[in-house]
């Protein structure tokens, strides 16, 4: 079994060969109208996917068996590491992350091949072939610059350097795979768009095929981002949930563009308009996923998350980016200009509201893109180096996002092609009044703040409008409410769920920024302190031995109205292998508030600097994310996507 890493490397080379064949043969088959070449697409996809997965599993085995003769394993694992962290350490570094990325890409491709029966004969192979091109590029990138299978022989280390303690956490076990499922999933919509450009078949059908795939990827990306935010919240020890860090922005941009894509695909499918725009958006969304990978992996931007950076890899990724995105955009420029919309655009119809949605989401994406790339662009023109931080994003991003949410309330009520203004007014005046009254009521119990009041009213408006729309649909006919409610299609409920998720997240964001308390105090054993209606009693610390760390655990009793409600145990850990200190915050989660304690600095006489936070409604931020994800999945599961399509 000692040869296993070499087999992994060899298998990966084979995978690249099949990916290359997939990139070339079906495409030739399409151009020469050769049915035999076209039919190679499916088996080639399965081979590529199977081999890549095999290579991934072999790397995981190397981690599980503590094979420290493999350089990558020795840099990211340690014999004392618990087994589940050993497995997640596979994607704890650059090489393994990329292998995970490409494994997920090939899995998406295999799934698409499996489902390709519903596609017309020539479309399926061309779509798979486009995915083959992307896979070839990234497999070459791994093999030529970042193989995880390199050995250190003959002087293999006795033990590994250990996984970065920040990454030794449940959130980080599942966060990257979910995020990549989303990132890479957009490659399917991208491949559909490119195939549509190649075949010139830019009718509404490509949008119909791409929709469920886009929804599912978007759902995964939503979950990935929410998990990342949740992880940062409890693991970094500051109680923050979003930092506008370049790496976070790299995941937010494809999400925003992907959200626009979901809506624009709907318009293209239903009305046959926005055709060339939707294609561009599909290219744009996947390009932003690739750009995210480039920014994180090349070291062009500095970031607290940038775990690995290397300029030679940067050049390779940049070349890859230019080839894939550049040629897509060039193809777009050549082909999209020939497309004409058959159906007229209804100025008062739902398509107009969705156009507003697309414009605002695109502006939001560009805002984040500009803020992220600002230091680079500034420097390129020799204006010196400068970085923009959270204030820029908060000032520019938030008002546009709020405006978008106002329109989110109205859009679903509008009918395609033509909507009467009177009808919209009839449905929306009551929710508007109610939202303002309810928001004002809440603020009678709290210090008034115009910005927060407006934001809260907008969140309520969205919820009430979703409810109003549902009631309008359910109460319309003579059938019972239950029968009507059941007849509404899944994609409708998916949309409602996702929209309400946005409102829930927004409410979380508003309350956590408005109603949170933060203190740092010096506490000696026996000290008590009052924070936001809770009393915290510090009982002292005790020493704890973990599997690969030692820790001081603070014991803190929390009282409310004189009763102990919970005991919280924040930790200060020292990870031995890297001699790295880590703060492990203690959390008492709740539906309306989180208690959050992290241990700061040890002081004299057994006293500690203790940070105590009370975070209002902070869970709602991620709860909203979960609702959005559920909505995306539900919409993708709609029955109509499973019918066979001719065309």
């Amino acid at each position: 079994m000692i040869m296993l890493p070499e087999i992994g490397h060899y298998v990966l080379i084979l995978a690249m060969m099949f990916a290359l064949a997939l990139a070339v043969l079906p495409m030739m088959g399409y151009l020469q109208r050769n049915a035999i070449l076209l039919s190679t697409a499916k088996p080639l996809t399965y081979l590529m996917s199977g081999l890549t997965c095999a290579s991934f599993i072999i790397l995981a085995i190397a981690f599980a068996q503590d094979d420290f003769s493999v350089l990558y394993v020795s840099q990211h694992s340690n014999s004392l590491l618990p087994i589940w962290y050993k497995i997640s350490a596979v994607w704890g570094g650059h090489e393994g992350s990329l292998l995970l990325w490409i494994t997920i890409l090939t899995l998406w491709a295999a799934l698409l091949a499996f489902k390709s029966e519903t596609l017309p004969n020539s479309t399926g192979p061309v779509v798979l072939s486009v995915l083959g091109i992307v896979a070839t590029g990234f497999l070459a990138f791994i093999l030529f610059t970042s193989s995880p299978f390199l050995r250190i022989l003959p002087d293999q280390p006795v033990d590994g350097v250990d996984l970065n303690p920040l990454l030794q956490d449940i959130g980080l076990i599942i966060h990257p795979p979910m995020l990549y499922m989303g990132y890479v999933g957009f490659s399917v919509a991208f491949a559909f768009a490119i195939a549509a450009l190649i075949t010139g078949n830019l009718n509404a059908s490509w949008a119909r095929w791409a929709r469920p795939w886009t929804n599912v990827s978007w759902a995964f990306l939503t979950l990935g981002i929410a998990l990342g935010s949740w992880w940062a919240y409890y693991e970094l020890g500051w109680g923050g949930w979003w930092f506008w860090d370049p790496v976070e922005n790299a995941s937010l941009m494809p999400w925003l563009a992907g959200t626009a894509l979901i809506h624009s695909l709907a318009v293209t499918e239903k009305r046959g308009v926005f055709k060339s725009w939707t294609v561009l958006l599909a290219i744009f969304t996947f390009s932003l996923s690739l750009l995210g990978t480039f920014l994180v992996r090349s070291g062009v931007l500095t970031s607290v998350h940038a775990f690995a950076s290397d300029p030679t890899r940067g050049v390779f990724i940049l070349a890859l980016l230019v080839i894939i995105i550049g040629s897509s955009l060039f193809l777009y420029a050549l082909r999209a200009s020939q497309v004409k919309s058959q159906v007229s655009f209804g100025l008062t119809g739902r398509e107009s509201w969705l156009l507003i949605n697309n414009i605002l989401l695109t502006i939001l994406t560009l805002t984040v893109l500009l803020g992220t790339l600002y230091p680079l662009i500034f420097d390129a023109f020799n204006l010196g180096k400068i970085s923009v931080g959270a204030p820029y994003f908060n000032a520019v991003f938030s008002p546009i996002a709020l405006l978008l949410i106002v329109f989110m309330g109205i859009g679903p009520l509008a009918k395609w092609h033509n909507t009467k203004g009177a009808m919209l007014w009839r449905l929306s005046w009551l929710p508007a009044v109610l939202a303002i009254v309810l928001a004002s009521l809440v603020f009678t119990f709290h210090e008034f703040d115009v910005y927060m009041w407006v934001s809260f009213a907008i969140a309520l408006w969205l919820v009430l409008m979703c409810l109003r729309d549902w009631l309008d649909k359910v109460l319309a006919a003579r059938q019972s409410l239950w029968q009507r409610a059941r007849k509404l299609p899944r994609h409708y409920y998916g949309m409602q769920l996702a929209h309400i998720g946005v409102a829930v997240s927004l409410i979380g964001v508003i309350f956590v920024s408005m109603n949170s308390t933060e203190t740092i105090v010096r506490m000696a054993p026996g000290d008590r302190v009052d924070v936001g209606g809770y009393e915290f009693e510090f009982l002292g610390t005790r020493h704890v031995e973990g599997p690969n760390y030692t820790a001081d655990t603070g014991v803190i009793n929390v009282y409310q109205d004189g009763q102990v409600i919970t005991q919280m145990l924040p930790q200060k850990r020292l990870y031995q292998a890297r001699q790295q200190m880590m703060t492990e915050a203690a959390l008492d989660p709740g539906f309306t508030r989180d208690l959050y304690i992290s241990l700061g600095e040890p002081l004299a006489d057994g006293a500690w600097g203790v940070r105590i936070y009370i975070k209002s409604f902070v869970r709602w931020i991620w709860l909203g994310g979960l609702l959005m994800m559920a909505g995306g999945l539900l919409a993708a599961w709609d029955k109509r996507y499973r019918r066979k399509t001719g065309a």
């Binding site: 390009s287 390129a380 923009v388 600097g609």
Partner: protein, 169 residues
């Protein structure tokens, strides 16, 4: 003419690619602070000497240097002796012990002398993030009113002090 419009995304992307390419070889380390000209962010940190929590009001009422250091940082020991000289000349220096262990930091100051009028403990690096630092040592010039005037990344020596001195006035 209308056809040319469809080339806009392509052209913008290529331009962006050129910018990226130029950036690849560059040193991403140096970056002047966006805080220059602004008030120093508010903080609450533990004062090493008194073991109490202090805030912005504890800072000197004259221009001073804000120096981020740590015992794990080799360059910090290089500049430590020079900071001592500056302190003897009467320059006020506030030290921030960045992502460090307090006992080690105390021992370090006992052994090498303490050039700081005030030592703040930023064990979790939260204040460092607020100040936008990327590592240690880093030194800021701060005015009597608490405004950030200049940022220097790396070791402070006689040469660097010439620049810092100008901002101190």
């Amino acid at each position: 003419m209308k056809k040319l419009l469809f080339f806009i995304p392509f052209v913008v992307f290529i331009a962006l690619g050129v910018v990226f390419y130029q950036q690849l070889g560059k040193d991403a380390e140096y970056m002047p602070s966006a805080l220059v000209g602004k008030q120093m962010p508010e903080f609450k940190l533990v004062d090493m000497a008194s073991d109490t929590v202090v805030s912005n009001s504890a800072m000197p009422n004259e221009p001073y240097l804000l120096n981020f250091w740590a015992t794990w940082c080799p360059s910090c020991s290089v500049e430590h002796a020079y900071l001592g000289e500056l302190a003897e000349q009467g320059v006020k220096i506030v030290g921030v012990d960045y992502k460090d262990e307090t006992p080690a930091a105390k021992k370090w100051l006992e052994e090498r002398g303490n050039p700081y009028s005030l030592v703040l403990l930023d064990e979790m690096g939260r204040f460092g993030v607020d100040m936008g630092i990327t590592g240690a040592p880093e030194t800021f010039v701060v005015s009597a009113e608490g405004k950030v005037l200049y940022r220097h990344q790396g070791v402070v020596d006689a040469e660097v002090w010439q620049t810092l001195k100008e901002y101190m006035q």
